[in-house]
Symmetry: C2
Subunit: 215 residues, 2 copies
DNA sequence: GTCTATACGAGGATAGAC
DNA sequence: GTCTATCCTCGTATAGAC
């Protein structure tokens, strides 16, 4: 990010000294760093370097590294929750509900591919201490409910809703975790390109629906 | 191989000064620490504390933290490779081959649940630099080959082998990654208990086979 | 081979000028 | 609000006795 000189306003009318803009820049850079390294291994210097602003700005706006981390966590999670929670899935038949749920989930993480990485670092390193029982747990619970309804109604084959919910989440999210390891397995295809993300959405939904359907 | 002749013995007949035993203890503790925190965030002090031996032993046997990490990676990976690679899957029909593959994979990671976490950290933090194109990639390739044969023969429904391979790995491995976050969702059931691990193996295989089968 | 004590650098956090 | 310079803790790695 190239910084403007001492002028108060840039040519686009955007303040050079702009608290909210600076916060946003820091948050974006922090999300990237935390996604790759997790809380402990993330370096505030690296975050500052990505933004172009001084390292001390992090402490000015977010108190300390932990505060910045919390902010990133809450922001990312709010996005995911909102995408999935207000869909009125209870009133749909199980298979349609599952498809809607998966579509919303996959669209959300496709827009923000760093989210799964952040969640998993938090889950493994910190055993999810910072998730206050409201966020990722409630998403899991929604999925479990759909699966329970599906098995009860006979739309789905007999399966354990709890175990299957975990496995289904894995089918959707592992793609984003493994992406760093895999890169362009077939030559030239970036995993995070729009085309590949759309294909992943299709393939994951197809695999899961076929996997649970009574057939 | 050869035992040290001058080793002192404790009352239980176990050497008090035993190089190989000490290395093994360190490796075990290190695997745990690296699984939870990854290379950078892992603390040598924490590893030493778990073992009970002095911190300097790590450097004596493994040169530095990086050396210890490499040793853990190689060890873990050799186990996984051996479990899966020598199964003669080429000579089995696709569906049987897939089931054999999944069984071997799931048995291996059930025996060593830390392995997926280690792989995950390495993949994200270090973009898999330390995997020398031979290990995890070859496992993926095996799975892709099975899927290609299955779609070609018509045993499997039309699917993208590359994308599906990732999603299938996710179905199997996510369970271990998310375990820290989920703990005992239903009260009293530990995710890593023998019973739950066996159930996960069954559920994952069932989900995947149903998901790919032409039906 | 194993321990205790310590040197040294990296990185989180603060002070104070502008 | 933003920067530069600095402090100080923590963690890696080494030295040297036993």
């Amino acid at each position: 990010m190239a910084r403007q000189a001492n002028a108060e306003k840039s040519s686009k009318g955007k303040s050079v000294r702009d608290a909210e803009a600076t916060q946003a820049i820091i948050l974006a850079a922090a999300a990237e760093e935390f996604a790759q390294h997790g809380l402990t291994a993330a370096r505030t210097e690296a975050i500052a370097a990505k933004t172009g602003v001084a390292k001390s700005m992090i402490y000015y706006y977010f108190k300390d590294k932990e505060g910045l981390y919390q902010a990133v966590l809450e922001r990312s999670h709010a996005d995911l929750l909102q995408s999935v929670q207000q869909l009125g899935l209870e009133h749909l038949p199980p298979e349609a509900a599952l498809e809607q749920f998966l579509t919303a989930l996959l669209n959300c993480v496709s827009r923000n591919p760093k989210l799964p990485m952040i969640m998993f670092h938090e889950a493994i390193q910190n055993r999810g201490k910072r998730y206050k029982r409201s966020s990722s747990l409630s998403i899991d619970t929604m999925l479990i409910n759909i699966l329970e309804r599906g098995t009860a109604s006979g739309a789905f084959r007999p399966l354990d809703p709890f175990q299957s919910a975990i496995n289904i989440m894995g089918t959707c999210l592992f793609y984003f975790i493994g992406s760093g390891n895999i890169q362009q397995h077939p030559q030239g295809k970036r995993l995070m390109s729009k085309a590949m993300l759309e294909q992943h959405t299709q393939e994951a939904i197809a695999l899961i629906l076929a996997g649970v359907r009574r057939c």
